[in-house]
């Protein structure tokens, strides 16, 4: 059975060249299937060693990675359906499909890998290939998003590279993955940096709102649903969870996470593009993950419960968030508008963690973690976050309610493919159904009412606002004139640009100086010795030639005499 693991990783790679052809675009949907089969058929603990691959690779599944594999493959399939159907025969769609498959292969590989190098390879392939997904639609704004993404991703990958180097150094070459390395300050800091970028932890989140807004909806769905979970998986894999208590690092994770959570939710509320809003919501969730990891680092005894709860939360978030993005992509289908509206509202409720949804269940499961240190301020902050999330999702629904402006009308090829994207809609409705069933299948009754208080408060705050806008109360127009604030990235970008400019100028000066010295050297060499007009003729003069011949003969004789016989 273990060969299925290899198939899961290799099939996307094999299909990648085929998918370039428009007629074979449906192969995209096949690519993640072996991964799903592997989830069902391959028992936990089975290992597939591939000693010839890279520096000796190994694939396998454990409980955590099995859940990650399931949700990742699901998200990729759904996104693939939408890419095939909605981005069918546009120009460059082949490139999009190729990079989509490469990113998929990387993502599946990093989940299946049991050796650190395999994890890194998958992570790197995924990160680089996604660049093409982000800038696919072209244009200045997307190029900027892609550039920011690429720079941050490269930095993250290098941080991970060094962290792995240091870990392999202490663990030895035969290190395989479920075992984590002994804690080391440099390693943890590098892991925080490397995966923090991928997850979108503040202040490393600058690329994320740009990228999620720039990418086509299915690509944003995999970015948020599947790829950002790779960072969480990385943390779960490489951090020494459940071994020793690391109070300093725990506190750092908790504080970073909390700050990220609150600021991201606040920034999200100010956005007027639903995709950007969802991006900030993702950043907030990354903060929550970091917070939970910090709590586990503080108290290692929480690790078994905590890791399971975190995994469940990640599954919930991956499905719901990718569903939201995919739903945004289906919003322009006029015939199915009531359906998409209803589905988006359901998903938004789940994202907000309203009672009876998967969000409530996930929240219920992480409660023991959150209550473990017994900090009142943490409870208060989390209550605030719950209310803010509720408001954020209300704003999302409010933003997505009206029919989208005909921004997609400039792509005439779209209608030609299919008037109503039946498959995309169908799979999306399946996903919404799955998310709605989630709490009833997995949770007990006591979980259903979680968050009721927070949601009620959020409604209480939001209802008057909605009413005021609806009734055009005096002053309510101001809601529309709020401009989204400039994110950190814009400031940082100008600072970086200035640095690069100064560096370039200084280097250019230096090159100029070197060039001057060289010219001066050549000139002085030229004045010292004007070369003879024809050097070869001088050598052919008899007296000189004879002299040379004599010299060479004497030298040879000397050498013969000097060299000892034998």
């Amino acid at each position: 059975m273990s060969w299925i693991l290899l198939a899961a990783m290799v099939l996307p790679l094999l299909l990648a060249p085929l998918a370039l052809h428009p007629a074979l675009r449906w192969t995209l949907v096949l690519a993640p299937l072996p991964a799903l089969v592997a989830v069902v058929l391959v028992p936990i603990g089975v290992n597939l060693d591939l000693p010839w691959l890279l520096l000796g690779a190994s694939l396998g599944l454990d409980e955590t990675s099995r859940i990650f594999l399931l949700l990742t493959a699901t998200v990729w399939i759904l996104a693939a359906v939408q890419i095939v159907e909605r981005q069918g025969v546009e120009p460059h769609a082949g490139r999009l499909r190729l990079l989509f498959l490469l990113a998929m292969a990387g993502n599946l590989w990093l989940i299946l890998a049991r050796d650190p190098i395999g994890f890194y390879v998958g992570f790197a392939i995924m990160g680089l290939a996604s660049y093409g997904l982000i800038i696919h639609l072209g244009g200045h704004r997307r190029r900027r998003a892609g550039r920011t993404y690429l720079i941050m991703t490269l930095i993250g990958e290098l941080a991970l590279f060094v962290a792995l180097l240091l870990m392999v150094q202490t663990q030895g070459v035969a290190w395989s993955l479920p075992v984590t390395a002994a804690p080391d300050a440099a390693v943890i800091a590098l892991l925080l940096l490397g995966f923090g970028i991928k997850a979108g932890l503040m202040p490393l989140h600058v690329w994320l709102p740009l990228a999620y807004t720039a990418a086509p909806p299915p690509a944003a769905a995999v970015l948020s649903g599947a790829m950002s979970k790779a960072a969480l998986l990385g943390w779960l894999r490489f951090l020494p969870l459940g071994q020793v208590a690391l109070p300093e690092w725990g506190i750092l994770f908790v504080l970073l996470g909390l700050v990220t959570l609150l600021i991201a939710l606040g920034s999200g509320l100010l956005q007027s593009d639903p995709r950007t809003l969802l991006a900030y919501s993702s950043i907030g969730k990354a903060g929550l993950f970091a917070l939970l990891l910090g709590l586990i680092l503080l108290d290692p005894t929480l690790a078994p419960v905590g890791v399971a709860a975190l995994t469940l939360y990640a599954a919930h978030h991956a499905l719901v968030k990718s569903g939201l993005f995919l739903g945004l992509g289906l919003r322009d289908v006029a015939t199915a508008r009531p359906l998409t509206r209803g589905g988006l509202i359901l998903l938004a409720l789940a994202m907000a963690g309203a009672p009876l949804t998967s969000g409530a269940l996930a929240k219920y499961r992480i409660k023991p973690l959150l209550e473990s240190p017994g900090w009142v301020w943490l409870d208060l902050a989390l209550l605030l976050a719950t209310i803010a999330t509720g408001l954020l999702m209300l704003r999302f629904v409010w933003l997505t309610w009206p029919a989208p402006r005909a921004s997609s009308a400039r792509r005439p090829g779209l209608d030609a493919i299919s008037k109503t994207p039946v498959w995309s809609l169908g799979t999306w409705v399946l996903l919404v159904g799955l998310v709605s069933c989630f709490p009833f299948a997995l949770g007990d009754r006591s979980a259903w009412s979680t968050n009721a208080g927070g949601m009620a408060l959020a409604l209480l705050i939001a209802a008057p606002v909605m009413l005021a806008v609806r009734q055009r109360a005096p002053g309510s127009r101001r809601w529309f004139s709020v401009r989204p604030p400039v994110d950190l990235s814009a400031r940082l970008e100008s600072v970086l640009a200035a640095h690069v400019w100064v560096g370039r100028t200084v280097f250019a000066r230096w090159v100029q100086a070197v060039e001057q010295v060289r010219v001066w050297l050549y000139r002085s060499a030229g004045t010292l010795q004007p070369p003879p007009p024809d050097p070869e003729r001088c050598l052919r003069d008899w007296p000189r030639a004879g002299l040379f011949w004599l010299g060479v003969t004497v030298m040879l004789l000397l050498m013969a005499a000097w060299t000892p016989a034998g």
Binding site: W52, L54, L55, V121, G132, L158, L165, V168
Partner: protein, 410 residues
């Protein structure tokens, strides 16, 4: 042992055997010189073949006969002759001190009396200066970009690989088989070499960043990348040695791919500058694919061969406690990304121009002449395989591991 090194080295240069026939005369001279360099069993023989290599490559540089080519060739000759002279002086001096200099595993100088050590240090720098000219260590790298501009792609490529590698190979020989890694380390020579290599890596990358000519950028990238080999030699310990040795092959395969591609662009479309490469991926997809593999490998993106090098160099540095080497690797990777990724972006994501500078239709079916197309595709596959199948038997990594283990007596 010797033939193992030779095999690795042979792989490094046999990559250029897919070649256009008119260069073959000069080329075979170079090959024999390179084989001589690889096969030579002591330092003096090495010096002789090293000089022959210098002379045999001069006509290749000057092949086109244009003033540019003449100038480049003259600069090349001036640099390498001086380098050869230094190397010769160093080798003779050393021979007078300790007698015949047969290459010995683990070095032959450590047994010599202590009062000679001061002279050994001076000789080491003489030798490294001589070899460093060809290996393009930083103050001595000036000839490489100059020789790269004028001549045809094939001779340019010889320079990126055969000549430069002869220098790098010489450095490895001097460090491992004449001085011995541990002895050189005890004299503090390895640290000096490492610093020199690091400066070269960073400086070469910075220079590459400011070039618009495709071949010039590749030339400076060579300056930077070849010093990875010296860097690997300068870190004490078998793992870093593996990194350096294996890069001898990996860099050759990847850089040859890049130069083949650059040649294809020039021959087929007349594209010589990076700023002319917009959308070239659509016109010549296979060539550009090969170029992408080479470029990604140079940055060290897995699973291309460059990653294996970087991994071993980093691991070796971590094992030896030389954390500054890791820092150099990081900065260098970022700089490599900064000068290669924009090319890839241009090639794949920007719309092609209405017409190319000088387009020749060399083939009906393929994007260019088959003899131009297959070599880069083949070497790109090799680069990919060397990374992806690094742990498989007969990979460059396996040979390098074997050699390194013998050097450190395991």
């Amino acid at each position: 042992m010797l033939w193992l090194v030779t095999t690795i080295y042979a792989i490094g240069y046999l990559e250029h055997s897919p070649n256009r026939s008119r260069f073959f005369g000069f080329f075979s001279l170079c090959v024999s010189a390179t084989v001589g360099v690889a096969l030579s069993g002591n330092l003096l023989t090495f010096v002789v073949f090293y000089e022959i290599l210098t002379l045999a490559t001069y006509p290749l540089v000057a092949h086109r006969g244009t003033p540019d080519a003449d100038h480049g060739a003259n600069v090349y000759l001036a640099y390498t002759m001086m380098g050869g002279a230094l190397l010769f002086v160093g080798a003779v001096w050393l021979q007078t001190l300790v007698g015949p200099l047969d290459f010995t595993q683990g070095g032959l100088l450590s047994a010599s009396p202590g009062e000679l050590h001061g002279q050994f240090v001076i000789i080491f720098f003489l030798l490294i200066a001589g070899l460093g000219v060809k290996a393009a260590l930083v103050p001595l790298h000036g000839w490489l970009p100059q020789a790269m501009v004028a001549p045809a792609p094939v001779s340019a490529l010889l320079h990126a690989v055969a000549v430069v590698k002869a220098g790098a190979f010489g450095i490895l020989r001097v460090v491992y088989d004449v001085y011995g890694a541990e002895f050189a380390h005890s004299l503090g020579l390895l640290t000096a070499l490492g610093v020199l290599a690091s400066i070269t890596i960073i400086y070469g990358s910075l220079k590459a960043l400011s070039q618009d000519g495709l071949k010039k950028r590749l030339a400076y990238s060579t300056v930077s990348q070849v010093s990875y080999i010296a860097l690997g030699a300068s870190v004490l310990g078998p793992i870093a040695t593996i990194g350096g040795l294996v890069h001898l092959v990996h860099q050759g395969v990847m850089k040859i791919t890049l130069f083949f591609c650059a040649g294809n662009y020039a021959e087929t479309l007349g594209v010589h500058k990076i700023s002319e490469m917009n959308g070239i991926g659509r016109r010549m997809p296979w060539t550009t694919l090969a170029f992408s593999v080479g470029a990604l490998g140079m940055i060290g993106i897995p699973p291309v061969a460059g990653f294996i090098t970087k991994w071993y160099l980093g691991l070796g540095a971590a094992a030896a406690g030389a954390h500054w080497v890791i820092l150099i690797l990081l900065v260098s990777s970022l700089l490599n990304a900064a000068y290669f990724l924009p090319i890839l972006y241009r090639a794949w994501f920007l719309p092609p121009p209405d017409r190319w500078p000088a387009e020749h239709v060399l083939s009906e079916r393929l994007e260019t002449a088959p003899s131009l197309l297959w070599p880069p595709v083949f070497t790109a596959l090799l680069a990919l395989a060397a990374g992806l199948l690094a742990a498989a038997p007969f990979s460059p990594l396996e040979w390098a591991t074997l050699i390194a283990n013998r050097e450190y007596g395991r």
